[in-house]
């Protein structure tokens, strides 16, 4: 099917958000573009049960200017690889507490495979190519989250 030109919605914000409220806006929009399938992925702050008193907060640093460009570029790449409707990427920065949503991607396509693959691709690229850094605070101190080799390796799936 011919879907409408993909519309890319990139949001980088410190405010908390409700993934459901975004999905409520995204879905009719995707439907009007001819989508038969909508995927959302939401990342949540997980507690650290091993740390004394657990995770007190997470602080996310980012690179204003580059962040928006990198996310837009990743979304554009997804739209050129698959036949997509609208694409949404939202990522928070600043202070977060356990169980809060960190980020969300939403994709839409005529048939489900495209939206699934695109959401998976967006997550893989976002993890290793968008300039965000997480720092975890516990009663024991603070530590920057280390990148995993597996995150970089995941990109080879898409080459």
């Amino acid at each position: 099917m011919a879907m409408a030109a993909p519309e890319i919605d990139i949001r980088v914000q410190d405010a908390a958000f409700d993934p459901g409220a975004l999905l409520s806006q995204f879905t009719p929009h995707a439907a009007r573009a001819g989508a038969g399938a909508v995927i959302s992925f939401t990342g949540l702050v997980r507690d650290l049960p091993g740390a004394t008193g657990g995770l007190s907060r997470m602080v996310i640093e980012h690179y204003p200017g580059m962040t928006e460009k990198a996310l837009h570029d990743i979304a554009q790449q997804a739209s050129s690889r698959w036949s997509l409707g609208p694409v949404l990427i939202l990522h928070r920065f600043g202070a977060l507490t356990p169980e809060q949503p960190i980020m969300m991607v939403a994709t839409a396509s005529a048939h489900r495979a495209d939206a699934f693959l695109a959401a998976d691709f967006l997550m893989d690229y976002l993890k290793s190519r968008a300039p965000f850094w997480k720092k975890e605070f516990t009663a024991d101190g603070a530590a920057w989250v280390a990148a995993k080799d597996s995150d970089e390796d995941a990109l080879s799936r898409w080459r």
């Binding site: 690179y63 580059m66 993890k127 850094w133 720092k135």
Partner: protein, 81 residues
């Protein structure tokens, strides 16, 4: 040019951004120049395999040329998502 630091690179060097007057031809030349300044720079740049660099807000390499560049940023591998 503006040089920016993020995450633990920012913490080690002790500032998020500075203006650097340099004639460095490549990112690697700039790293050597900064490392020669003070220990905190040398420490931050001691293991380049643990660092990433962006040139004018695009991910780049340490051998990238700096001609006409306005902004270079150093940071650890990203951990978003």
């Amino acid at each position: 040019m503006d040089v920016l630091y993020f995450a633990w690179v920012r913490e080690r060097i002790g500032l998020p951004k500075e203006r650097v007057d340099t004639s460095a031809a490549t990112v690697m030349d700039l790293v050597r120049e900064l490392s020669a300044r003070e220990d905190r720079y040398a420490l931050a740049f001691s293991d380049l395999s643990a660092l990433r660099v962006a040139v004018d807000q695009e991910l780049s390499d340490f051998d990238a040329p700096l001609g006409g560049v306005r902004e270079v940023a150093f940071f650890p591998p990203m951990t978003g998502g």
